[in-house]
């Protein structure tokens, strides 16, 4: 913890100006920033409080889909009747995330920017090596306890899991992240660690997430978020799947399928291979099981997390069967 400046910008434009300053960090729900400041990971030079900015928390439906303001609270979005009808997976992902207290504070924009729960990332005093925190310092997780670490999208310098639930759903349904005028697909918003794990998303200095839009689709209306974990509440996913499906009028041929995984990858993990393998095919358990294995293409275990490679395709299968009415 160290002293920091506190700014309360009068407008979004001012917030952007402040946010462009080196060491500036935005404060919305505060559930990530305060937590990380306490464990010595976040040390902002300037905290820019945007909680009071108006017009950024609305949930608006149109023919094209839904527009969710970046300051809308997780609990608010989860409980929204139209969200539950048109995007059930969004509601399910939100209410299964974090705890009730956190959901009442945390915002949608902040939720996308939450940091990994990697214990080594969060403990700088005991584990100085972390390429995400301090580029080039090494990775203490490698060779450590890796039960919760990623098996997909890892690099030799970082294996930290993206902790998101909502972001997995957004990835599945081609949601768009609004940074004011600039818009960017969810899948492009989140970055693979590669050799630059400190850079987790495409946000440039001075940019502020203003909204997320999710296109309406038949698949989104028939969707689910399945989260598997040991504890039934307030735990990150061992593996999760966001799945949406549209069937042809024959009631059994898959017309559209969306699959994304959480809890297993360094970013929200769209499983397009699974989608391609099943679109146009009849919904049949064996085909679904086989296709779900494609989600793990390229997976690499660290030791403690090998179970994720077995578990994740089962979660995908169950979620597909569930939206297909077969489970």
């Amino acid at each position: 913890m160290r002293d920091f400046d506190y700014a309360r910008p009068a407008s979004l434009a001012e917030a952007r100006r402040f946010a462009a300053e080196p060491g500036a960090m935005l404060l919305a729900g505060g559930t990530t920033l305060l937590d990380l400041a306490k464990c010595g990971v976040a040390a902002p030079v300037k905290v820019i409080d945007i909680t009071h900015l108006e017009g950024l928390d609305a949930i608006t439906f149109g023919a094209a889909g839904v527009h969710i303001g970046a300051l809308a609270k997780m609990s608010h979005v989860a409980a929204d009747a139209a969200i539950r009808e048109n995007f059930p997976a969004v509601s399910e992902a939100l209410w299964q995330a974090a705890s009730a207290q956190l959901r009442n504070m945390a915002t949608i924009g902040g939720n996308l920017l939450q940091r990994t729960r990697c214990a080594y990332f969060r403990d700088p005093l005991a584990f100085p090596a972390c390429n995400k925190r301090d580029p080039g310092s090494g990775c203490a997780a490698l060779g450590g306890i890796t039960r919760n670490h990623a098996v997909l999208g890892t690099s030799k310098v970082c294996i930290a899991t993206n902790p998101g639930d909502l972001a997995v759903v957004l990835s599945a349904f081609d949601a768009v992240v609004h940074l004011g005028e600039r818009r960017i697909a969810t899948d492009d918003f989140f970055l693979l660690p590669g050799m630059t794990p400190e850079r987790e998303h495409a946000l440039e200095p001075g940019e502020v997430i203003t909204a997320v839009t999710i296109p309406a689709s038949a698949a989104a209306r028939r969707s689910t978020y399945l989260k598997v974990r040991d504890r039934q509440s307030y735990e990150f996913a061992a593996a999760s799947a966001a799945v949406g499906m549209e069937l042809e009028p024959d009631g059994k041929t898959i017309r559209d399928l969306r699959v994304a995984l959480g809890g297993v990858a360094t970013k929200p993990w769209r499983a397009r291979d699974v989608e391609k393998a099943l679109i146009g095919k009849p919904l049949e358990p064996e085909a679904v099981r086989e296709a779900s294995l494609l989600a793990m293409t390229g997976a690499a275990a660290q030791g403690d997390n090998h179970y994720k490679i077995d578990l994740a395709p089962r979660v995908v299968t169950r979620a597909i069967m569930k939206v297909g009415g077969l489970a």
Partner: protein, 768 residues
């Protein structure tokens, strides 16, 4: 069986017997203060001139401090003092809880020698908490690091040291095992588990001359007061420890710890009151939880499942600078009738904080071993898991060879099995299913000894007709306030709302540790005695005092009921308040203790309340005294995901007489809930390179949430046991957790056919 002490018609000892307050389902009288926030906890004390201490912990697992550079911290805003091993005042070594001298030399709350990761090495005191926290981050430490041995799975830790006092044997166990027609052998493991009370550890310390006042959550007011007094070389009476409310302890708040010494040192050195609160991560190394344990059990039996021999070898982790033995044979050597038994164990020193007590130390991991092993034997010989337990039922204490005072364990099997519907169980593993869920039904028994120490209580009657009970005994949520009010109300003859109870203050009459599930029994005994004496004194005055309306009746005695005094010979009925007014008395106050009358000197009392040397073992006397329970548990295991959900719990428990069934049931359920977390979730994850517990927070150290807990049915099968305690109760608080984890492991086996012998049973252990 010794049923001679039981009345012909079995009494439950609760409200169903009729009678007044004790035994009724009164809600906790401290409840409203807690839910409205009126109850003030230790760290909520704000004193004039209060400053704040923040601890710095080591970031290596072994070695020594080369240099601590405090230059930046000393100069930081608001900083009053930076305590380091070289700057902290040396304290005197304090007597241990066994009444033995502490380690030689001065007691140093901060040292340059590092024995474990997360050891306290410095403390920063500043005007505000934020300033102290900021400055603590500026303390630079240069270490001379050596290799740490993180866990007992590191081969360098060796076999450890034998703890002969925990060894048990009778008969020729090895030989009998070798000859047994049926033999099974398995190793069971439990990980490091932590107390994680929601109220964190911390204190406010204030000196006034050579008198110290400490506001600190405490399970043992008198024991901790003694430690503080001895550390600082002041008379015991000079320390006042105040702890009226405690937000959970589970064994972790019974001792004065290094952080307490640091805060009291800082307060003395600065001559200002100091508040020190450990952060949640710091609590994982400021005191120890339950050590990791492993035990290998070999059972020899007949083809019919009758035990012939039990051979057990066990080990638990301890620290490199102390010995904590987790008695792994405590249930093994008690639960079943076996003609031969041999159990021995070692402790293996590793670089960790010294482990300590966590709810049912010993009985808890011991039951995990034997109650899983007997289940394995039941499948081996093809006998129902309940039936094999009854077949090996111990009719007397197999170790002490004494009769049980009471053992309603057979009744517990019967009542629990009936309520659970056990007879519908299909014996084959994997034979019960609901969609994706494999369903398993498991059973396991538990036990906890009746420990007995004397206590004392002051009972006062006041001019307004109200009564007051006072004791340094504590209430950490288990219901002491309530049951002592009920006890006094009955003994005096008052409505319970006319009794006020004061607890948790060293200025009040003494009490031994609120641990070992002994406090309710010993304090109801002391209060009962003192309250009867107060009533006798009142009646004596009513009979003899010239101003009493009863004097003319020349009665031998009078009745007191509902706060009204009357004579069996009729005549006037007078309230206690009216009588006190006519007698011209402000109060009647009596102090009584339950020490032996032949040995109740002040020195003896001091030992009784500040050490555990006066705690009587459960087998001292003619009987073996224990509480018993059986848990019937249903789990649903998702076959694809390996996730285990507890869907049903029925537990039947014998805690003797229940002073307040509502509160006892809550205690049992709390233990069962903790047991579910232990079985499925809890595990300190130790990074073997650095000896760091990496999940040292409530987000990552998983305890059960509401969503993990089904409805729990608890059934009391106890009867009053007057060998166990004055008013007939046995152990409650630590009983409920014992046997829960094996019942779940057994249910998981029944569901899946997979025998998981190392806790917790997480999903990856059940995925093929």
């Amino acid at each position: 069986m010794t049923t001679d002490i039981l009345p012909a018609k079995v009494k439950r000892g609760d409200a169903s017997d009729g009678g007044a307050s004790l035994g009724s389902r009164l809600s906790r009288i401290d409840g409203p203060a807690k839910i409205t926030g009126a109850a003030r906890y230790a760290l909520e004390h704000h004193l004039e001139g209060l400053c704040h201490a923040v601890i710095v912990q080591s970031t290596i697992g072994a070695g020594r401090i080369g240099v601590i550079d405090t230059t930046a911290a000393d100069a930081a805003p608001g900083v009053l003092m930076v305590l380091t091993p070289d700057r902290i005042m040396p304290l005197k070594s304090a007597t241990t809880w066994l009444d033995t001298p502490g380690p030689e030399g001065p007691y140093l709350a901060l040292t340059n020698v590092i024995n474990f990761m997360g050891q306290h090495i410095a403390a920063v005191v500043a005007e505000t908490f934020e300033q102290a926290t900021a400055a603590a981050a500026l303390v630079k430490v240069y270490y001379e690091e050596t290799d740490a041995i993180a866990t007992y799975d590191d081969p360098r830790s060796g076999e450890g040291m034998a703890l002969d006092h925990l060894a048990v044997s009778w008969g020729e166990a090895e030989a009998a095992l070798a000859e047994a027609p049926v033999r099974i052998e398995a190793t069971y493991r439990t990980p490091r588990e932590y107390n994680v009370p929601i109220e964190p550890h911390g204190l406010v310390a204030q000196w006034s001359g050579d008198k110290l006042t400490v506001w600190e959550p405490s399970q043992w007011i008198n024991g901790m007061s003694r430690t503080y007094a001895e550390w600082f070389g002041v008379p015991y009476e000079n320390v006042r420890l105040v702890s009226p409310f405690i937000g959970g302890g589970f064994g972790s708040k019974a001792f004065a710890l290094a952080h307490g010494a640091i805060a009291a040192c800082a307060a003395k050195m600065l001559d200002r009151p100091v508040k020190l609160a450990l952060t949640r991560p710091q609590t994982f190394t400021a005191f120890g939880g339950r050590p990791a344990t492993r035990q290998t059990l070999k059972l020899g039996a007949t083809e019919e499942g009758k035990l012939l021999s039990i051979v057990q070898t066990g080990a638990n982790e301890t620290s490199v600078d102390g010995v904590w033995g987790e008695p792994l044979a405590s249930v093994t050597a008690l639960m079943y009738a076996t003609p031969h038994l041999a159990a021995r164990q070692t402790v293996v020193p590793v670089n960790t904080v010294l482990p300590s007590a966590l709810r049912a130390p010993g009985e808890n991991p011991s039951a995990f071993g034997i109650e899983c092993a007997i289940d394995e034997l039941s499948y081996e010989v093809g006998i129902d898991p309940v039936a094999i337990r009854l077949r090996n039922y111990a009719e007397e204490d197999p170790h002490a060879k004494k009769p049980w005072s009471t053992r309603q364990l057979r009744e517990a099997y019967e009542a629990g099995a009936k309520a659970f519907g056990w007879e519908k169980r299909k014996p084959e593993p994997r034979s019960m299913r609901d969609g994706h869920h494999l369903i398993g039904w498991g059973v396991a028994a538990g036990t906890y000894p009746v420990r007995r120490t004397a206590g004392e209580a002051m009972v006062g009657l006041f001019a307004d007709g109200r009564a007051e009970v006072a004791s340094s005994g504590i209430d950490m949520g288990q219901g002491t306030y309530t049951i002592l009010a009920q006890t006094a109300a009955d003994a005096i003859g008052l409505p319970v709302d006319q009794v006020e109870v004061k607890l948790g203050d060293s200025a009040l009459p003494g009490a031994p540790v609120a641990g070992g599930s002994q406090l309710a029994n010993l304090m109801t005994g002391a209060v009962h005695k003192a309250a009867l004496a107060a009533r006798d004194e009142l009646i004596g005055l009513a009979i003899s005092d010239p101003n009493s309306p009863f004097r003319a009746l020349q009665a031998n005695t009078l009745s007191v009921a509902d706060g009204v005094i009357s004579s069996p010979r009729g005549g006037e009925e007078v309230t206690i308040a009216e009588l006190m007014r006519r007698l011209g008395r402000d109060k009647i106050e009596v102090l009584r203790d339950t020490l032996p009358e032949t040995n109740n000197s002040a020195a003896e009392k001091h030992k009784t309340y500040t050490t555990i040397t006066r705690m009587r073992s459960p087998t001292e006397g003619d009987y073996s005294l224990h509480a018993w329970c059986v848990h019937f548990i249903e789990v649903r295991v998702d076959e694809d995901f390996g996730t285990v959900r507890v869907s049903r719990v029925v537990s039947a428990l014998d805690s003797g007489r229940l002073y307040n069934p509502k509160l006892a049931e809550s205690q049992w359920k709390g233990g069962i809930i903790m047991g579910i977390g232990q079985a499925l979730l809890e595990e300190g994850l130790v990074d073997r390179r650095k000896g760091r517990v990496i999940n040292n927070n409530l987000g990552d150290y998983l305890i059960a949430t509401n969503a993990d807990i089904p409805d729990i049915e608890v059934i009391s099968v106890g009867v009053p046991d007057f060998h166990a305690s004055v008013l007939g109760g046995k152990a409650v608080g630590e009983l409920g957790i014992v046997g829960v984890a094996p019942a779940i492991a057994n249910a998981v086996y029944h569901a899946t056919g997979k025998r998981i012998r190392d806790l917790p049973i997480t999903l990856e252990k059940l995925i093929d």
